[in-house]
Amino acid sequence: MDSRFNRILIPLIAILMGLLVGAVMMMSIGYNPIAGYSALFGGIFGSAYNIGETLRSVTPLVFTGLAVAFAFRTGLFNIGVEGQFIIGQLTAAYIGAAWSLPPVVHALAAVVFAMITGGLWAAIAGYLKARLHIHEVITTIMLNYIALNTSNFLIRAYFHGQQENTPPIRPSASLDMPILSQMFDNARLHWGILISVLLAAAVYWLLFRTTKGYELRAVGFNSHAAEYAGMNVSRNIVTSMAVSGALAGAGGAVETLGVYGYFGIQGGFSGVGFDGIAVALIGGNHPFGVLLSALLFGGLSYGSSSMQRLEGIPTEIIRVVIALIILFVASSALVQWMIGKFRRKGQEVGRS
């Protein structure tokens, strides 16, 4: 019970400590932290529109966070989410524009195929690890760049609409949620949010409730024992990379179908995949933890631009704050120790 209590308390304290340091930084360069943070939180919750956009900016992080977390749970470090996300975006943009299908079906088809391509892309790294024992960290890093340039080439050579972008997807493929968007004053809310929550639940169920999940985690913990128990280690490695990549691909798909309606030639990485690593880790690599940490992470980074707009405070401060929060969450031992000290103080006071 105490540990469950700490599981709530530690992150909260970590967040507070992070914001505190941020406040000190603001003061150090002559900004007013109160004003800064009110701008920040205004930027997050201030209006229906902001709330809506916060949720929108959180959505892709849930997908990438889940992708990284799933891989971690099965003993793999997938730094390739960035690239798998791109593959998903491209696939969805293509199917969304090139095919013509009835509404819902079209959107679903695009998402599903994006999951397949994203999964296959990640499976390359899985295969190379399983068969040739190549460290997945290297391959996934390399595959990021390969994905980026392949996508750029395909768009430029075969699939560009006007300028550097793909043609817009057909309405039938869109994941927009007009009603909800209206409610949030035209914030770009879309079905992807729902999908992300469903996938989080699915991941939880797959990992912790199913036979396959039992196998995948066993292989991650101790491949020798898994082999002894008759599990096919290689196939499980490929599978878990594929699932992880599929989650990333889905993220790319909903970003294309729900937010932009097109994809384009990219000058570099959006960083959403790398942020996914942070999200997964803050969330303790647990699907539901990922939901919460995505909210935290996405909220703060989204709100930071109002901070800059209204108070002229550099958004980097929020990067620093986020960094510190991650650090404090990670060093739970530190926080626990502080809680402990605090409690003991309390008791002494109580006694005297």
Binding site: T210, A225, G230, N232
Partner: protein, 511 residues
């Protein structure tokens, strides 16, 4: 004689359990003092305290009559206390020399002087008759030699008081006799030794006095001359223990396992099995006797599908399973108690409950259409924990937190409970206390009496002798003879194991 170590009223608590509860241990100069107790009794803990790895909650320690606080291994080293840990503290990729000098290196200016260090090591090993190759990598040498490295580590640091935590659990009989000789040399050199073992005859053989603890409590310290194995077993377990395995003569039935000229390569690509032919029939226990490293490991791996054969056939229940997947083979009726419990036997991060279904998790009732049935899984675990007396806080405890002894019981429970046609038991009682051993031997015999086949692999000759109905002797990847235990003495067996019978043949081959 003066007491070199006095541990008085030592108490150590761990979350949920009192590992040591007011324990006394007094060791005198030049004696070999045995520390005896069940698995989880608190022996390793007590020794870890003496070596400064744990701090006692209560009690005091005197060394050479002076009160001391042993805050960390450095202090222990300075007090001349050295420990040979139960789980070796060796850096696998390092050479023997590097491991020995680690922490007090031989240098030449700022640089390591390995050449000089190797000389030193060679001298030491000569002086105490501890034969090691200073240049060899630890990962490449036998467990016995690794142990000698551990001992050299302590001697290199000038230890006067040596702690041996279950050194013999992992040794071959030959190595054990060697170790005994080494220990005798050491006491001749004026060292004092604390010796933890579960094997009473070892205690009777070389110890002067023995301190017995049970469930963390001090029972008594007696002189070996005034006691005998039965008394000791009684003191330690708290009841009478049956050593001799009682079993009727076997009534072998149809053939369950059959290997014909099986060949396979070892890890380094060299041939480890060359032409094994062996049969195990229903209702009999076949023991494999052999010096470690003669192909036992590979033999089991090819049978269970963990290693590919290069030629030959393996048949189980009249169906060929050569080079099938481990799962297919397991399904065809094989149970396997693996030799390395931490590497293969358990997923240490899974709960005991989850480990109890490690190879049946996908079957009904534990899995229904791909979904795990946790209620079934954990009730199953509760049942086994009860029957096999696994000492664990609960079925939800991670396997990592269990005493190795109890980890072993958990594995045996899992495999025996599957009631396989052929049960392969590799080193099933390694590191277990007499009570546990008695229990496990009973279980194996039960299997046999229920008409199942058992393939027993053990380095303990007397275990092989007392359990087996037939003994197959393995030497250099070949079965060099099959005998009945009542027809051979341990001595003959030892000769066969050392390849005596085939010496001539080898010489010819060599020329």
């Amino acid at each position: 004689m003066a007491a070199v170590v006095e541990m008085l009223g030592i108490t150590k608590r761990f979350p949920g359990i009192v590992a040591n509860d007011n324990i006394h241990l007094v060791v005198e100069k030049g004696e070999i003092h045995a520390l005896l107790g069940e698995n989880g009794a608190g022996k390793s803990t007590l020794m870890n305290i003496l070596f400064g790895l744990y701090q006692p909650d209560e009690g005091k320690i005197r060394v050479h009559g002076k009160d001391v606080k042993i805050t960390d291994p450095n202090v222990a080293n300075r007090l001349g206390i050295g420990m040979v840990h139960q789980h070796f503290m060796l850096v696998q990729p390092f050479t023997v020399t590097e491991n020995i000098i680690l922490g007090s290196e031989v240098t030449n200016g700022p640089l390591l002087d390995l050449a000089k260090a190797e000389k030193k090591v060679a001298e030491l090993s000569k002086r105490y008759g501890l034969d090691v190759d200073p240049k060899a990598r630890v990962e490449d040498i036998s467990v016995g030699m690794q142990q000698r490295v551990e001992i050299l580590k302590t001697l290199y640091r000038g230890a006067e008081i040596l702690i041996f935590d279950e050194p013999t659990a992992v040794l071959t009989p030959q190595e054990i006799t060697e170790l005994m000789q080494i220990m005798r040399n050491l006491v001749k050199e004026g060292k004092s030794i604390i010796f933890i073992t579960h094997k009473l005859k070892e205690i009777m053989a070389i110890c002067d006095r023995v301190t017995v603890i049970r469930r963390g409590k001090y029972i008594d310290t007696v002189s070996v001359k005034e006691t005998d194995p039965d008394k000791l077993a009684n003191m330690m377990v708290g009841r009478h223990v049956q050593f001799a395995v009682e079993k009727e003569a076997a009534t072998p039935g149809s053939s369950v396992l059959e290997l014909r000229n099986v060949e396979a390569n070892g890890n380094r690509g060299v041939k480890a099995l060359n032409g094994i032919t062996l049969e195990v029939r229903a209702g009999e226990i076949v023991g494999i006797a052999g010096v470690e490293g003669n192909g036992q490991k590979e033999l089991i791996e090819v049978i269970t599908g963990l290693r590919k054969t290069t030629s030959g056939t393996i048949v189980i229940n009249n169906q060929e399973i050569t080079n099938r997947t481990p799962r297919e083979i397991a399904e065809s009726g094989i149970g396997h108690i693996p030799e390395d419990r931490h590497k293969r036997g358990l997923v240490l991060d899974y709960s005991i409950g989850e480990n109890m279904v490690l190879n049946t998790y996908y079957k009904s009732p534990f899995s229904k259409s791909g979904i795990l049935q946790f209620d079934k899984i954990f009730s199953h675990a509760r049942r086994l924990i009860k029957i096999f007396d696994v000492r664990t806080p609960s079925e939800y405890t991670p396997a990592r937190a269990l005493s190795g002894g109890n980890q072993q019981k958990a594995i045996i429970a899992r495999e025996v409970d599957r009631d396989p046609d052929l049960l392969i038991a590799a080193q099933p009682t390694r590191g277990l206390d007499v009570g546990a051993i008695e229990f496990i031997h009973k279980k194996l015999v039960e299997q046999r009496d229920n008409g199942k086949a058992v393939l027993l692999l053990s380095l303990e000759l007397d275990e092989i002798m007392s359990l087996s109905d037939r003994i197959a002797v393995i030497y250099e990847g070949r079965i060099v003879g099959v005998v009945k235990p009542e027809e051979v003495t341990e001595h003959d067996l030892g000769l066969m194991m050392s390849g005596a019978t085939t010496d001539k043949g080898r010489e010819e081959a060599a020329t």
